[in-house]
Amino acid sequence: METATDIVLLALLAATAVGLVRIRNLFAVVMLAGIYSLLSAGLFTVLDAVDVAFTEAAVGAGISTVLFLGALALVGHREKKPTRTGRMQVLPLAVVLITGAALVYGTMDLPPFGDAANPVHHRVADHYLEETYHEIGVPNVVTAVLASYRGYDTMGETTVVFAAAVGVMLLLGGGARRRRGGAAPASESESE
């Protein structure tokens, strides 16, 4: 059952991804990207990552879509038809194929999917599962690892979000004024 859901979800994801490549209406693209996120959230649930699924649904399908739509309202929603259809796609395609081939090559030696004996589950992870209850006393191991064992990562994560806010404020905080002309147009704050 698990495996079947897994396969179906992955197939849907693949279909969505192909759609994303082809569609040129950016509204549709953003919506489809939201659907992609929702599907992946579903996949995460199947793979026992409920916290991640929750977050992906909220962020990928929710916040991210809202932000994209907000931006689309400002930049227009139609992607230009590629002018150099023939030539343009060759190099990216080659890069992607090589990268993909390398990854597939790498997965050949990956331990089989879902095997409890995989090295990935030992060394550190089993420690968390065994000790969290004694050391932290929180049943949700993900929370324990997130906020305590690897709490410093989470602090970094918070800082990244804050950095994004600082970046957006720096970029959009000056009020909308069209910049035109040469190499060094006047800045926003001059008007103030």
């Binding site: 409920v50 918070t158 909308a176």
Partner: protein
């Protein structure tokens, strides 16, 4: 806007529930999926809903841009500050054990504090970004 009365009322009714749900997600993060980040995102969802229904200006009056910006900064300070407090109490950075009389409670407090930091920052940041993107369209 009169014909949107249903929406307005609906939003008014819905918003507290969303906030409550966010708080549940936050405080129940120890036991079930969820935590500060998810709660923050849900809060933002409530906020977006309010903006969509009541308009940007109205929401900005209740939640001024400077306030949400300050939230973004305060959350980080809360998180990093927790680490500094544990340092002052004699542990390493973010070593929560010393926050209470026994390690387990200390961990609880610590996690609660830093998750609160995450919540505040995420809400502040997302609201700020939303304000800026949404506000950009109007001032033109």
């Amino acid at each position: 806007m009169r014909e949107e009365l249903v929406l307005r009322v609906g939003a008014k009714v819905l918003a507290p529930f969303i906030v409550a749900f966010a708080l549940y997600v936050h405080f129940h993060g120890d036991y079930s999926p969820g935590g500060g980040f998810q709660a923050g995102v849900i809060l933002v969802a409530a906020f977006v809903l309010l903006v969509l229904v009541y308009g940007l200006e109205a929401v900005q009056q209740v939640l001024p841009p400077r306030f949400v910006q300050a939230c973004a900064a305060v959350g980080v300070l809360l998180y990093a500050g927790t680490g500094i407090v544990t340092m002052l109490l004699g542990a390493n950075y973010l070593g929560y054990n010393v926050l209470a009389h026994d390690p387990e409670h200390g961990q609880h407090y610590g996690i609660l504090l830093v998750e609160a930091g995450v919540l505040i920052t995420v809400f502040g940041v997302m609201a700020t970004i939303f304000y800026h993107l949404a506000g950009r369209g109007r001032s033109e």
